[in-house]
Amino acid sequence: MSDELLYSEPEEELRAAVADLLSARAPWSAVLARTESAEPYDADLWKALGTGIGAAGLLVPEELGGAGASLREAAVVAEELGKAVAPVPFLGSLTATALLLALPGCDAQLRRIATGEQTAAVAVPFSTLPGNGRRNTVSVTPWPPKDGVTDARLTGRVTGVADALPADVLIVPADGSLYAVQAVDVTRKAVTSLDMTRVLCDIELEDTPGELLAIGYSALDEALTSAAAVLASEQLGLAERCLATTVEYVKTRHQFGRAVGSYQGLKHRLAQLWVQIAQARAVARHAVSATGDERAIAVAVAQAHCSAVAVLAAEECVQMHGGIGFTWEHPAHLYLKRAKSASLALGTAARHRARLAELVGLPAS
């Protein structure tokens, strides 16, 4: 199994394509400028990434116009997006795609996602722990859903949803079933978000037409688990970029007549961070490769580990840049905000540890 922990050649090619696109189209100065604009998500960049490179349809089978790839390839894309804190709805789209793939009769929708005609998102709070997405805030009429009757009306509120602002279709869990809702039929209110590069929104549904996709939430739990696995790779990429940026800076910044990177007080912390990032790479790779019972364990480990590593990397980036790292004009804050938000997303490290304890038979009491 250990080869799965490495990157394949096609994965490296995909990485290079995404990295080239991002360095050309999403330098941090542009990312920063966008954060206070009317359009916090970069639609053009998403189009180039989603359909130009094919990131939107990565998981979609080839016969439906996608790439027929796996979470491993998606994770490589996420690493690069994490490095750039790119404002594109890749993670949300991936979560919706993973969910639709597990549901019957969604071929047409998947085809539209792969072609870029539509972008989808799952309407759950971004903080939702996989396996814990059952908090019901949307109600349905008629209830219960009947065979053959696929039209329903949904009313309720879902708060703090990621990547829903640029979505055309929302998959809404309501009263134990999953419904497709057209985004134009709901009210989406952008949230002033800690992470300015992944702006959340609150969604209001009021007698909104919904199409029944499936009864039950088990597919939702699996899709959120996939999202958590891929998020770990995004955190890895973010941490790598923070380390690289900081290492470059401390080599050039001089104080007391020496490069500040020659002081052991900084060198040792950067070396410790490097050790943790090397570990993050191994656990993140495993999380997107594992199957069966191992998958839930691998994902919980990856989230518990990578969340902390990304936050540490961003915090060290701010601290070791000194004054400039505390300014708005330097990108360090974009990374810090993304890292801290990502550590709360899809379950905190503490919740993943608690989940892990159940999975490996180490009960709290």
Binding site: L6, L243, K267, H268, V275, Q279, V283, G361
Partner: protein, 401 residues
Amino acid sequence: MPPLTAQHVTTQHDLENQIRDFLAAHDPSTVDRTDFLRARFDAGLAWLHYPPGLGGQSLSRDLQPVVEQAFAAAGAPDNDPRRIGIGLGMAAPTILAYGTEAQQERWLRPLWCGEEVWCQLFSEPGAGSDLAALATRAVPDGDDWIVTGQKVWTSMAHEARWAILVARTDPDAPKHSGLSYFVLDMTAPGVEVRPLRQITGEAEFNEVFLTDVRVPDAHRLGAVGDGWRVAQTTLMNERVAIGGGSAPRETGMIGVLADTWRTRPEVREPALHDRLMTLWVAAEAARLTAMRLSAQLAAGQPGPEGSAAKYAFATLNQQLSGLELELLGEEGLRYDDWTMRRPDVVDFVGRSPGYRYLRAKGNSIEGGTSEILLNIIAERVLGLPGEIRTDKDVAWKDLPR
């Protein structure tokens, strides 16, 4: 073992024939152990990558498992590699690289056969991380050198016949260029070995006091003043402990702790639970990282992750063994045995929790301190500036000590 090339396959077949013929001529059930090992050495079936005449056939190291497995399957005696690890892993490669023909013929055969145990006289009380600062003097006297000084952390010194030694031959030269490398006879007059009792109560290591010990110049390895370079060969060959390669989940200390948690519900406390799970994740991350490193090595993409493995292992072991004592509470107040003993092996799992806690303290000191490892990562991997040195171009005798 990496995939075998076509040439390897031919050689493997050829090797298997050689071993079969050898075993036919030397029945392991009747031939004396030492005679058997000597014959195996002379047949070039000892260490395959060594040259012909010195126990090998100049073959790839990758083929060694073929030989080991074949001999093990035939019930043949081995050379007890754990007992002669310093000889096999450190002395022999250095003798091969720098020894004269006469030196190689004298030392390598009894070394490999386990007839002569070797130890290493490098570290000193005043030269730990800074090995090149060592102060043991070697003064020329006719065809001999007279060696005086104190060495420390020498495992197997009490059983060794020979030692590899680095000593200062020119105190007026800068520290790295005034050293020479010798082979010292541990039975010579003036060699005194004392056990060095450690924090756990036992003594895995020794102090070695050298008082006017005569070493023939014929036992010098490499040129006078070239000792630092020769020592690098030794240290590069020091076995890199990569931490298990593909060990199963919950191997080692984390397994001990998880077992305690599962089987003894009375130790469970909420705050300790989150610490346990945090360390469980750290252990799993370290395990997967070691697996990834092995996969990289097998795929021919050696990464710098190896330097990190020991650092991570040391930190983790210390945290886990500390938590174990806290979990156990009253039981953690007892220790199994402070008696001064000379253990053959370090048995982490077989001893008491207090022993584990104390022995783990050595993990961040032995074989490179954690601080030195972090320097190595910072400088060689991240390319950060080296420490500002004030000792490199000064005569050793003028350095503050």
